[in-house]
C-alpha cells in the first residue's frame, strides 16, 4: 500500500509489522496460504484510480448526482407505489444518528433504545391499523403482499389467490414470484378479477364466481392502484370469508387518518408500504413494507418477519424489548422456517416511528383531509381542460387517472412537453392498462400547493390545445 488510508487504522507499515511479529508470520501474503495457487486471480484488479481525498471524491460523486433531475427542482405528480410526501426534519435527524445508522445487532440491553424505537413503530402502526400484531418491516409492499399470501396459503392449506386486475404491475410481478411457477409443488395460482369500467371498483359478480374451496386468500388494495377507494370492501370480506378464504388488504398508511382501517371491514391480514411515513423517495430506495394481523396464535405462528415484543426484565417493574418467535424464522429453522428473513429496512422503521409520534391523531387527520381535498381539486381543474377526461372522477384519495385520448396526444408526448416546463407528469399507464387508452396516474399530496395544481392545469391546457 502506497498510502495510509483514512478508513484503516492499521494501514501504517509499522503497525502491520508489529502485528505480523506478534503472530510470527513472515508476511501478510503468507496468511493467505489456504487459497490454492490455481484459485487466484493472475493479475491485479483493474479499477478506476482511487480518489483518496474526501474533497476529490465529493467532487466526482456530486458531478454524477447533478446529472439527475429531482422532484424538488421540478414539480412532480408521480406516484404509483412511491410518493413525495413531506418528511419532517426530525425524521432525518434521528435516522442519521450514528447509534441507529451504523450498527447491526447488540443484546436486548445494549440495543434497548433501538428495540424500543422498533416497538414504537409497531405499536403506533398498530393504532393506525387497529391491529395487535405488526411485524418489523419487510422490503416493500409487494414483498409484504407476497408473504401474506403465502401465510394465507399455509393457514388454509389452499393454493389459489384472487387479486384485482387493477394492481401495481410491479407489485403483481413480485407477488407472482412469491407464488412460484406452476411446476413447483407449493405453487399458488394467481386469479385476476376485473373491475367496473365506470367506477374502478372490483367486479363483485366475477369475484363471487371465482371464489371456491381452492381460494386461500382474496387480496385487494384500498385505495387501489388507480386511486379508487374500494367501497365494497366489506362485501368482499364477507364473500371471502364465506368461501373460507383469508382476506388480505393492502393500504397506504398515510390515508388512515381519514380512511377506515381495514380491520373494521373484515381484513384478516393487512399489508402496505411504510415509505409515506417520513421516508424520502430515494429513487425507490425509501420503500418498505409491513404485515399486520390480529393477535391470534395461528396468525402469529405464520409470520416470516421479525417480531419485537415488550417483556419484563429480571428487575421488578422494568421492561425491555426482545424478539418473539425467532425460532420460526429462517434464522432459527433454515429451510423449515416461514419463508425467509434477513436485513430489511429497519432504519426506516425508526423514521416511521418518529413520524407517527409527530403526527398524532390530529396530524394524520389534517394531512389526510388536505390530500383528499387537493387531489379532488386537481381532478376538477384538470377535467376542465379540453382534451382531458378523469377516468374515475370520485371516491379516490390521492391518485386519479387522467385520460388524454380526446386530445389526440399520447401520455409520452404530454409528459415530454410538461418536462420542458419543469413538471413531471403522471405515470404513463398506457402499456400496463391498454383498456384505459392514453392515460396517466396523477398523485397529489400535501407537498403540493394550490398554485402548483393551477400551474399544472394551465400547462396542460397550453400543451393540449396548441
Amino acid at each position: 500500500m502506497t498510502f495510509t488510508h483514512p478508513f484503516m487504522a492499521n494501514s501504517v507499515p509499522a503497525i502491520k509489522k508489529e502485528m505480523l511479529d506478534a503472530i510470527g508470520a513472515p508476511s501478510i501474503e503468507a496468511l493467505f496460504e489456504q487459497i490454492p495457487a490455481d484459485h487466484r486471480m493472475t493479475r491485479e484488479l483493474a479499477l478506476p484510480p482511487a480518489l483518496r481525498s474526501e474533497a476529490e471524491l465529493r467532487r466526482h460523486l456530486l458531478a454524477i448526482l447533478r446529472k439527475n433531475e429531482d422532484c424538488e427542482a421540478n414539480l412532480s405528480f408521480l406516484g404509483g407505489g412511491c410518493w413525495q410526501h413531506h418528511v419532517p426534519a426530525i425524521c432525518d435527524e434521528i435516522a442519521g444518528r450514528s447509534e441507529f445508522l451504523t450498527p447491526v445487532w447488540g443484546t436486548p440491553s445494549s440495543d434497548h433504545g433501538r428495540n424500543q424505537a422498533w416497538f414504537e413503530f409497531t405499536s403506533q402502526l398498530g393504532e393506525l391499523l387497529d391491529m395487535e400484531i405488526v411485524g418489523l418491516p419487510v422490503y416493500s409492499w409487494g414483498c409484504a403482499a407476497g408473504h401474506a399470501i403465502r401465510m394465507a396459503s399455509r393457514l388454509t392449506g389452499r393454493h389459489e389467490v384472487i387479486v384485482p386486475r387493477i394492481i401495481d404491475p410491479e407489485r403483481l410481478s413480485v407477488i407472482r414470484n412469491y407464488c412460484e411457477p406452476q411446476q413447483m409443488p407449493s405453487h399458488i395460482a394467481v386469479v385476476e378479477i376485473g373491475f367496473d369500467a365506470g367506477t374502478g371498483l372490483l367486479d363483485l359478480a366475477e369475484l363471487e364466481s371465482r371464489l371456491s374451496s381452492r381460494t386461500a386468500a382474496v387480496y385487494i388494495d384500498t385505495p387501489n392502484y388507480l386511486g379508487v377507494i374500494e367501497t365494497h370492501a366489506g362485501e368482499i370480506a364477507a364473500l371471502a370469508h364465506r368461501a373460507g378464504a383469508e382476506f388480505i388488504v393492502g393500504v397506504d398508511p398515510i390515508s388512515l387518518g381519514v380512511l377506515a382501517p381495514p380491520a373494521g371491514f373484515g381484513a384478516d391480514i393487512v399489508v402496505g408500504t411504510t415509505q409515506p411515513l417520513g421516508v424520502h423517495m430515494n429513487c425507490g430506495g425509501g420503500t418498505g413494507g409491513f404485515i399486520a394481523s390480529c393477535d391470534e396464535e395461528r396468525y402469529a405462528r405464520e409470520y416470516p418477519s421479525l417480531l419485537v415484543s415488550i417483556a419484563e426484565t429480571v428487575q421488578p417493574g422494568e421492561h425491555a424489548f426482545g424478539l418473539s418467535l425467532l425460532h420460526q424464522s429462517s434464522y432459527g429453522s433454515r429451510e423449515n422456517g416461514k419463508d425467509w428473513t434477513g436485513n430489511s429496512v429497519y432504519l426506516w422503521a425508526i423514521s416511521n416511528a418518529v413520524y407517527m409520534s409527530l403526527m398524532g391523531p390530529q396530524g394524520f387527520r389534517e394531512v389526510g383531509e388536505l390530500i383528499v381535498q387537493q387531489a379532488h381539486y386537481a381532478a376538477k381543474v384538470l377535467a376542465e381542460v379540453p382534451g382531458i377526461d378523469i377516468v374515475f372522477p370520485g371516491g379516490f384519495f390521492k391518485e386519479f387517472v387522467v385520460r388524454f385520448d380526446a386530445s389526440g396526444k399520447t401520455v409520452r408526448d404530454v409528459n415530454r412537453a410538461l418536462r420542458e416546463r419543469g413538471i413531471f407528469g403522471g405515470h404513463d399507464l398506457s402499456a400496463a392498462f391498454p383498456a384505459l387508452g392514453q392515460s396517466a396516474l396523477y398523485a397529489v399530496t400535501e407537498v403540493h400547493s394550490r398554485s402548483d395544481i393551477d400551474r399544472l392545469a394551465a400547462s396542460l391546457a397550453e400543451i393540449l390545445n396548441r
Binding site: 433531475e69 424538488e72 447488540g106 443484546t107 440491553s109 430506495g285 415488550i310 426484565t313
Partner: protein, 519 residues
C-alpha cells in the same frame, strides 16, 4: 500485550424513557399542515364529503400527542440508550466497517433523496450512471457479466438466485424435474430458506473434519434432480475449501448451477474471482463488504451478478449504456420480473460505489490484507485466554477473516455461557459479538470479525475485556450470569416472548394482556 491494556469505565445512558404510547398530553401537536386553500374547499367541499360513506375513519387512532421538541428528545434518548457501534463492534459475519459520512451527506441531497423511481430515464442519468459504473466495478471484482441491485439484502439476492434458477430450468424444460438445491450446514440460513421458499427441496451437506463437506458427500448428493449449489467460501470459521473448483465441476456435470454466496468476501477480495472458479452467479452485500451502513438491518442491497448465460433471466430493468447515455432495459422477455418494486436501494449503491472509488484496487487489497491480518492477530491472542478454543483445532493454518471460537471449556468450568459473556462485555462498552448461525457446530460459539477498520489498540481492548470477563467468570460466575449491570435495562426474561398469553408485539396487545393478567 493485550492484558496490559487498561480497561475503560463505561455505563450506558439511563433515561428510564417511557414507551411513547404513554407520553404526551391531549391536544399537543408535533406537526401542523396547512388547511386547504379557500378556493380548493370552495371547489370541492370539505374532506368528509369526498370520502365514500362507510369508508371514513370514525375513531381517531390512539397515537401519542406530543410537541415537536418532546418527540426529538424522546428519540435522542432512545439513540443514547443504544450502544450502536459507539463501542467496538466486531460482529462476525457482518463485516463491521467504517461508513463514510460523506456518503450520507451526498445521499441526503435532493439530487438523490427527492428522486422518484418512475421518472423518465432522461432525468435519471446520474442514478443510472452510478448503477452502471458500480456494475462494472463488481464485474471486475467477480468476473461476472452483469449485476443488478434490485434485491434488498443478501437473503433477497439468494432468493433472486433461486428465482433465476427456476427461469433457467424452465428455459431448458427442466423446471419441476430438477427440484433440489444443495447447500452446506455452514452456509448462511438464507440459502436453504430462500431455496425452500422458491419451491426447491434442500439438501444440506454436513461438515467433515477438514471443516467443510467432503467432495464424496457432494458427489453422492448430485443427480439429475440437482438444480443448483448455493455455498459460501470461506465459511464463518475462516476455513477455505480448496476443492471448490472441483465442487463446481461436479455440480456442472450433474447439470446444476453454482451460486457463490460472497458474504465472506472481505478476506478474499482482489485475490479470487467467482467466475474464474467456475461459479455461474454470486452475491455481495453492499451494506457489509462495501462500506454502506447497516442501519440496524437495512436498507440494504444484495448485489446479484451472473454469467452471460443467466443474464436474460435477471430481474428487470437492467441498466445499459450506449456510450452516450444510460437506459433502463425493460424489454426482457425471459426476465423473472421483480423481486421488489423499483430499481433497488439506490442510496446504498451510491455509498458502495463511493467506497470502491475511495479505496481503488490498492485499497481493496489492503482492506483484505488487514482484515485477515487482524483476525489472525485476534486468533493468536484469544487462544491464550483460559477457556477459549477454536473450531477445528487440528487445522494448523492461518485462518481467513474470521475464526469460530468456543467458550465450551469456560462453560464446563464455570457454567458461564457465551451469551452471558456477551451480556457482560457490553458492560465495558464492547458491542455484542456474533455467536453462530443455527445449528451450532461448536459448544458456546462466538465469532468476532476484526475487519480493516479497527485499530490494533481497539483489538487489544476487545481482547482485554474478554480476558477480564473470563477471569470474572472463574472468580464470580454469578456476576457474569446476571449481567448486564451497566446498561439501560437488565436482562430480559425470555419465556414470555414465546407465550401467547404474554407476548405483545404492539402496545395495544400489551395493555390488553396486562389488564387480563391483573384480572
Amino acid at each position: 500485550m493485550s492484558n496490559m491494556t487498561k480497561l475503560r469505565r463505561y455505563h450506558a445512558a439511563v433515561w428510564d424513557e417511557p414507551v411513547v404510547m404513554e407520553m404526551g398530553r391531549r391536544g399537543r401537536r408535533g406537526i401542523m399542515f396547512p388547511a386547504a386553500d379557500q378556493a380548493v374547499t370552495a371547489a370541492v367541499g370539505c374532506a368528509e364529503t369526498l370520502i365514500p360513506e362507510g369508508m371514513r375513519r370514525t375513531m381517531p387512532p390512539a397515537l401519542p400527542e406530543m410537541s415537536e421538541p418532546d418527540v426529538l428528545r424522546h428519540y435522542l434518548h432512545l439513540s443514547q440508550q443504544t450502544l450502536g457501534m459507539m463501542g467496538i463492534s466486531l460482529f462476525g459475519t457482518c463485516t463491521m466497517k467504517y461508513n463514510a459520512r460523506l456518503n450520507e451527506a451526498l445521499a441526503a441531497r435532493p439530487e438523490l433523496a427527492e428522486i422518484h423511481p418512475l421518472q423518465d430515464e432522461e432525468t435519471l442519468q446520474g442514478v443510472l450512471e452510478i448503477i452502471h459504473r458500480f456494475d462494472l466495478a463488481l464485474r471486475e471484482l467477480s468476473g461476472m457479466d452483469q449485476f443488478v441491485f434490485q434485491p434488498a439484502g443478501g437473503a433477497d439476492a439468494a432468493y433472486t438466485h433461486a428465482c433465476v434458477t427456476r427461469a433457467w430450468l424452465a428455459s431448458r424444460g427442466e423446471l419441476g424435474k430438477r427440484d433440489e438445491i444443495i447447500t452446506s450446514l455452514q452456509a448462511h440460513p438464507c440459502n436453504p430458506a430462500t431455496a425452500a421458499t422458491a419451491g426447491f427441496k434442500v439438501i444440506t451437506l454436513p461438515l467433515e473434519e477438514d471443516g467443510y463437506p467432503s467432495l464424496d458427500a457432494l458427489k453422492a448428493a448430485v443427480s439429475d434432480r440437482t438444480a443448483a449449489l448455493m455455498i459460501n467460501n470461506p465459511d464463518d470459521m475462516g476455513i477455505y475449501n480448496p476443492h471448490i473448483k472441483e465442487w463446481v465441476r461436479v455440480v456442472h456435470e450433474a447439470g446444476g448451477l453454482c451460486f457463490y454466496d460472497h458474504a465472506n468476501f472481505n478476506g478474499v477480495m482482489s485475490r479470487l474471482r467467482a467466475r474464474e472458479l467456475g461459479f455461474d452467479a454470486c452475491m455481495y452485500m453492499l451494506h457489509k463488504t462495501f462500506g454502506a451502513p447497516k442501519g440496524g438491518g437495512g436498507p440494504a442491497v444484495g448485489a446479484y451478478g451472473c454469467s452471460a448465460e443467466l443474464a436474460p433471466f435477471l430481474p428487470k430493468p437492467v441498466v445499459t449504456f450506449d456510450g452516450k447515455s444510460y437506459h433502463l432495459d425493460n424489454d426482457r422477455d425471459d426476465s423473472i420480473g421483480k423481486v421488489r418494486e423499483f430499481l433497488g436501494n439506490i442510496p446504498v449503491v451510491l455509498k458502495a460505489y463511493a467506497w470502491v472509488r475511495s479505496l481503488g484496487a490498492e485499497g481493496i487489497r489492503e482492506a483484505a490484507d488487514l482484515s485477515v491480518l487482524a483476525n489472525n492477530y485476534m486468533d493468536h491472542e484469544l487462544l491464550k485466554l483460559r477457556g477459549v478454543s477454536r473450531s477445528h483445532p487440528q487445522i494448523d493454518a492461518w485462518r481467513m477473516e474470521m475464526t469460530r471460537f468456543s467458550l465450551g471449556k469456560l462453560f464446563e468450568d464455570t457454567g458461564v455461557s457465551a451469551m452471558d459473556v456477551q451480556n457482560r462485555m457490553v458492560d465495558y462498552g464492547i458491542d455484542a459479538f456474533w455467536l453462530s448461525h443455527e445449528p451450532w457446530i461448536v459448544p458456546q460459539p462466538f465469532t468476532p470479525e476484526a475487519g480493516e477498520m479497527w485499530s490494533k489498540e481497539d483489538l487489544d481492548t476487545w481482547i482485554a475485556v474478554l480476558g477480564a470477563v473470563i477471569e470474572e467468570a472463574y472468580a464470580d460466575p454469578d456476576k457474569v450470569r446476571s449481567a448486564p449491570h451497566n446498561q439501560a435495562v437488565h436482562q430480559i426474561k425470555g419465556a414470555p416472548l414465546e407465550d401467547p398469553a404474554h407476548w405483545a408485539m404492539t402496545w395495544r396487545a400489551y395493555v390488553r394482556k396486562r389488564a387480563k393478567a391483573q384480572g
